[in-house]
């Protein structure tokens, strides 16, 4: 149960099977840092090319294909005051004939926004552009936008997107105190993380949260022989599953199917019980509708599952 302090020296923009940055044991904790999505560090220096550069990978001893890697997000702390993002909705999230009405910057591109992130005050103050919002204060809720493990079959999947191995899910539910679960596809799992947001709206409809570099503390646990199909998570109140795909319909199908499997395999619910319960109590959240794969989240309240027999 060691706590490692790790300072990254290189970053990855794919999740892949590659040389580990650090080998850690089941149960270990890591304290490390992540640059922001653009490769900027705590000092506003671009130290690596943009595109969700990842810290890692961490090789977790004992993790083998067919296992599950549990990752406890102990702490996610922005480590600078400058946050940036986009200030206009993405073209794919509005009606096609509304696209020409979206604001553009002087070069015809999507306008940028900047914030002053004050962890003590718990707010991010909009500093630009000049809009009718003025210096609006957004409440902080730091999260990890992109994290996961090496994908199956030697693939190297861009950190722009997501799939069964996790990746760029941009789900605002991945905050401190949450445990994320990933299917292990490669020996050691090879865990990557980065792309913190000081906060984000549902769906990441402008294509960013408030992008920020951060200090992160996480703990890993290997769940031998627990086979899962898609990323899962849990917090104090809910268990949840994530489907990553386009269109949203397919992301919903993945997340929903994964939840049924979970309820049937670990809560001793028969098919009819699991589905009757889901039908009347399930909750959904939109992770993102911007990345190449969209992310949809299927949630069940833990309270509703209490008292049910566990396997």
């Amino acid at each position: 149960m060691t706590t490692h302090t790790f300072t990254p020296t290189r970053y990855y923009t794919t999740m892949c099977t590659t040389e580990p940055a650090l080998v850690i044991a089941d149960g270990d904790t890591v304290v490390t840092t992540c640059v922001d999505a653009g490769g900027y560090d705590a000092h506003k220096a671009r130290i690596t090319p943009p595109g969700n550069p990842m810290t890692g990978p961490f090789f977790v001893q004992g993790a083998e294909p067919g296992d599950t890697l549990a990752v406890d997000l102990v702490r996610i702390t922005p480590n600078r005051r400058w946050g940036w993002g986009r200030a206009a909705l993405a073209p794919n999230v509005v009606d096609p004939d509304f696209v020409p009405a979206l604001p553009v910057d002087a070069d015809g591109g999507r306008p940028r926004a900047e914030w002053d992130v004050d962890m003590d005050a718990g707010t991010a103050i909009l500093t630009s552009p000049q809009t009718s919002l003025g210096h609006y204060a957004f409440a902080l809720a730091p999260m990890l936008g992109c994290f996961g493990v090496a994908p199956a079959e030697g693939q190297a999947i861009s950190t722009a997107t997501s799939a069964e191995h996790g990746g760029n899910m941009d789900y605002r539910g991945f905050v401190e105190g949450v445990t994320a679960y990933f299917p292990v596809f490669a020996p050691g799992a090879l865990f990557f993380l980065g792309d913190a947001h000081a906060q984000q709206g549902d769906g990441e409809m402008v294509g960013t949260g408030i992008e920020i570099s951060c200090n992160v503390e996480f703990r890993v646990r290997v769940q031998k022989g627990r086979r899962i199909g898609w990323p899962r998570g849990e917090n104090d109140t809910h268990i949840f599953t994530l489907g990553n795909a386009r269109p949203l319909d397919q992301a919903v199908q993945h997340a929903t199917t994964e939840m049924v499997r979970w309820l049937q395999s670990e809560y001793a619910l028969d098919a009819l019980g699991a589905q009757t319960l889901m039908g009347q109590t399930v909750r959904y959240e939109l992770g993102n509708m911007f990345d190449p794969a969209y992310t949809f989240v299927c949630k069940m309240e833990k309270r509703l599952l209490e008292g049910l027999p566990r396997t």
Copy 2:
């Protein structure tokens, strides 16, 4: 400001321009009843064919195309103890290769469930089928699944589906205390309502909530010259817009575009302000992913809009 007590004598399974059941004035309240989605009334008698039979239509004096009809949902009260629904997920909401694993009844159809709905206790107790859930108690949250106005251009749109005029949106947010807004397409708006659920999960993933007949009280208000494109709503904490379409992606586009228009037209936000705010604070909910048109809901917290200049 009259309160009308109205007893329906016929029901409609399309929303259409037809003979009004009752003519009411701007500001009037109506106390009436709705049969359930299957045409069963408070006495468990099927008094009209199934398919979301509607009470109404109510002709609201002064409502003209180009106006908005506001409907305050004052009271939605189940008026019998018997609730029914489905007990298996719908084939379209799971992975296609998982469909053969969905439970079926003896005839190969989708299994039915029944509940004992106890308004005093605030619960619906599952009475059948026999599952690992036993006599599980679901918390009540009565809502209207299907309501809206006569659609544009003389269309008669089935109450199985939904569109700009409302219809079968099956959104669990339409509970007591909510105000719904509909674009008016026909003189008098011609308001229809029905398809109550004692409660429902997000997405109506089994194809039903806990289907129930009910007593309803609602009040109408005509908003002259307020042009909206899609149904909207508000409750104590949020304003929201609904997009009704397939696939979900398009429903999201409609709801999101409608919210931008709302913020820009009634909250005096410029495009960049409205979109920067939405990008970091917007919330989405899945109404239904079962009906011919799916329903997606875009929400903004009122608290976040306070202090902003209003038009």
Copy 3:
């Protein structure tokens, strides 16, 4: 086997159950005219509001719900020289971030095009706008964009869209010599037709063909007890089925499922035979990707079905 000459006096922009314009017998032929999608007649006069105004409905004696109405398209002849349409791709058929690059007219709308339609020469010469194409000659292939029967359950469905009853399918395969089949939902079937195109590309990607008024001759046949689920058709070389829905994926699913049913019910193929054959020989065409419901067409070559036992 009467041939009726029918001159329309009113037009419909929904397909619905309404007063027949003419009652005809099984086997009868009708010679009539259709205005164009904008309501313009052979003399370029707008004689009815736009939106695919329909000629009809024709009540076919003996047609009952559960039957199929066969419609032989004997002749579709443009009856004027002026054709019009759109000159820019629709926003929904290009990448969302390409939408701002689509040409617009002086009012920000979608630019119009006009053609000189010469039936003798078999060409439509582009007369405006001025483009690098000059006076380009398009080969004529007159077709019906919108036709079908009254939909189920008293619905009145806009002629902007399509569904199981047919409607605005905008499939360029509906030319002279084709037989179309529609499921009958209302007594007499109530057949409507209109929206001719002098020719059209796959998908109607600009939102129009070369819009034209026309003379039409068609013959109806009632197929008692033949139950079909979606519009079907056949020409000299192929049988085909049409799925009308959004997104395209769902339209494909409808058309494909309808073709399997056809092969199994009328060609005496077992499921494995029908599907093995389809898997290696099926052809698809894109009807339209512009209307509220898209149309996808599943085709099988008749030659490949010859020699197979028929039921």
Copy 4:
């Protein structure tokens, strides 16, 4: 202009930047072999794991990111008589509620089919399973299902799927005599090929064609500075573009946008001219609707582009 005879010794199931199997020059021809999708060679021996194992990669001297690689498919010849595939439609291509009606084999899996492929006769005779088709003869039309170049940014993309770099497009139009064009993302382009089909239906709706190993001859040409966004191709009669994505709607958007760019950049058509022409004459084909990314093809007849000024 060398002709290389290359015998593969290892195979890849991702397209990636890796050690070249052979370095060739601009203009060179390669004669080689491909195993089938399951890793079976000309002798029916499984010599490598399944999943569209690729021959290659071929490093083409002079090809740099920003160029285009042209690949002339000179010859695709099945090199054994045994062909195999699937005999039931895939669950995702039929209506969700039709899925339980799809045939399954004794283990509940998707049934297999086998063919006797006779290149002299030009036919593939169905040898199993036993169906109402009997020993049906399918006409041969050998094609490559999966080929392309190393993707951008160091990604290693599974040969189960496709993207901007090509990959598993399963388009039956990629036959002898066709030239395919790929955007170059890595130095040397790194060309991979495999997954031949003796023939295939539109859409690969059973998830396979008639899977076969083959001899292939191809020639490469580097088009310096020609920037394309998606795979393109041309044959004697048409030019075409391919969009690879889910859902089909998005694949259509990619292919359509790529065609507009092509017409505007290389045929000297202005936007209005290109789009007016496309609107009335474009053709579409469904490549596949089975793989993780679907493939849609946008085609323009060369004859219609003759006489237009070229850049």
